[in-house]
């Protein structure tokens, strides 16, 4: 399988690997995929009171393209509002990394991870407001 230079770069030097405090009310977590399918992505975002993503961390069990997709989105997420984050499309990820057709699902998974993390933070915010 031939990987693009950008995939190899993210794979060799993944950005923002790690975890944030999942109990922090400002941290949203999205975990998608399943071990049996060969991919699990965990994405955590920290959102400030202005709704801007201050930090993003990931861990990924998966192929090089899955690792690169999640590494790339952590870079993109920082500084974005959660609404902007929600609007990120898998096609943009696939294009940036020049993913071959068989690896498009990795970018889909990364988009799903963003949506899951945003949903989690929104749920936490809602809980905070109603509390």
């Amino acid at each position: 399988m031939a990987y693009s230079d950008k995939v190899l770069d993210h794979y060799e030097n993944p950005r923002n690997v790690g975890t944030l405090d999942k109990n922090d009310p400002n941290v949203g977590t999205g975990m998608v995929g399943a071990p049996a399918c060969g991919d699990v992505m965990k994405l955590m975002i920290k959102v400030n009171d202005a709704g801007i993503i201050e930090d993003a961390k990931f861990k990924t069990y998966g192929c090089g393209s899955a690792i690169a997709s999640s590494s790339l989105v952590t870079e993109w997420l920082k500084g974005k509002t959660i609404d902007e984050a929600y609007a990120i499309k898998n096609s943009a990820i696939a294009e940036e990394l020049a993913l071959p057709p068989v690896k498009i699902h990795c970018s889909v998974l990364a988009e799903d991870a963003i949506k899951a993390a945003v949903a989690d933070i929104k749920a936490k915010q809602l809980a905070k407001e109603t509390a």
Partner: protein, 428 residues
């Protein structure tokens, strides 16, 4: 058409003295630990072959001039060498283009010839594709087949084998040494069961020559497949052993000039046959010493890797050729693992299926989960592997596995004491 091919990025593995080169420099080639996929041709074998593609180029079937005679003599010498390694009579050796053809010829040839005796075949789910697909083809022609699962250690339970036998069982095919996990089946015991039940017994020994002792004078085996390129010989040549006493008959699958006493027509590639003969001769002479050396290297590799948590050896360690180590690294995804270990040339499962991302069917037959099957690496050690290669490999594996686990949410959950089997995954 461009005249020159981009010569592969590989450098020769040997220097001018035929010694393995130091391969650990800055721009070194990956270390070759995929000897079960194919072996390099031993330089001594290559040296024997070359005269037969240059000056002695005759067609061995040309009976009218010395070009043909020299070729024929070389072919018969090689046949003797192949026979010697496996305790056979040279007249029991039929040349083929490789183990795939040998397996196809043995299985279809015997099943077709003896089909009036019965139309049931027994084989094992961990056989090479060439065996499985030949049996499937016979099923389409009206045969029935039982595909036995091995035990979790890769070995066959003899009682289960016996239980699979039917009155109309005509043929059984069991591989000597598994290509992925290296386990050695009890061919004597299975063969005896076949004899007692009047079943023709075929054994795929492609991975066995030079690794385990084979004595067909004693082994109750009727047909046995061999190839050269797993035993430091050239690609494109193999052989089928066809027992003479008691005589086993097969129906030819390739018809023509009637070469190989009618069992396999087609012009024989003299230099390749010569190469196979020389390779098998070297295997016979050097097997004991070589296997002891390789076992030491394998154990060193095993002990080095075992210091990591959550590694699982696939297949029985005791009934196993020294050359093979197949290990799963839990919580690491297989394809990223292959990317991580670029410094070594290894295989995840059999080379023949690695174009697809399916988990190894052999590991699944042992009952391994998909995740563990996906995260498996087959290390296969050979004649030119050095202790330094093994040291390098252990260090590389440790650092890369650490890095990938650092990235892995599954590893993190495992470390947090979460039972992954109880997690509700969003399957996609």
């Amino acid at each position: 058409m461009s005249a020159s091919i981009e010569m592969p990025v590989l450098k020769d593995m040997f220097d001018e003295n035929g010694l393995a080169k130091d391969t650990h420099g800055a721009d070194a080639q990956p270390i070759y630990l995929d000897y079960s996929a194919t072996t390099p041709v031993d330089p001594r074998v290559a040296a024997k072959m070359i005269p037969y593609i240059t000056e002695h180029f005759g067609n061995p079937a040309s009976r009218s001039h010395p070009y043909g005679w020299t070729a024929e003599k070389a072919v018969e010498n090689a046949r003797e060498e192949v026979a010697k390694l496996v305790g056979a009579d040279p007249r029991e050796i039929v040349w083929t283009s490789g183990a795939t053809e040998s397996n196809n010829l043995a299985i279809k040839g015997a099943a077709n010839f003896y089909s009036e005796k019965g139309k049931h075949i027994i084989t094992i789910t961990t056989e090479h594709k060439a065996v499985i697909d030949a049996v499937r083809e016979l099923e389409r022609q009206g045969f029935t087949a039982t595909y036995l699962d091995p035990e979790p250690n890769g070995l066959i339970d003899l009682e289960k084998f016996k239980a699979a036998i039917r009155p109309d069982t005509v043929l059984a095919s069991v591989m000597f040494v598994n290509n992925e996990i290296g386990v050695i089946q009890d061919i004597t015991a299975i063969g005896n069961i076949c004899r007692e039940n009047n079943i023709i017994f075929h054994v795929d020994a492609a991975q066995a020559t030079g690794k385990v002792e084979i004595d067909l004078e004693k082994l109750p085996v009727d047909l046995m497949s061999f190839c050269a390129h797993k035993t430091y010989g050239p690609k494109g040549i193999g052989a089928l052993y066809v027992r003479r006493k008691p005589r086993i008959r097969i129906e030819a699958q390739m018809h023509g000039g009637g070469h190989e006493r009618g069992m396999r027509s087609g012009t024989l590639a003299t230099h390749q046959i010569v190469g196979m003969g020389e390779a098998f001769k070297l295997a016979r002479e050097e097997m004991v010493v070589e296997n002891a050396r390789i076992l030491k290297l394998r154990n060193k590799l095993l002990h080095g890797l075992e210091t990591m948590e959550e590694v699982y050896v696939n297949g029985d360690l005791e009934h196993r050729v020294p050359h093979n180590l197949n290990i799963s690294f839990n919580y690491v995804e297989g394809e990223s693992l292959i990317m991580a270990v670029k410094g070594i040339a290894v295989s995840s499962g059999s080379a023949c299926t690695s174009a697809s991302l399916e988990p190894s069917y052999v590991l699944r037959a042992l009952g391994r989960s998909d995740e563990l099957a996906h995260s498996s690496i087959r290390f296969s050690i050979g004649r030119f592997t050095t202790e330094e290669d093994i040291d390098y490999t252990i260090n590389l594996m440790k650092s890369k596995i650490d890095k990938l686990r650092e990235l892995s949410p599954l590893w993190e959950m495992f470390k947090d004491g979460i039972d992954l089997s109880k997690v509700q995954w969003a399957a996609h």
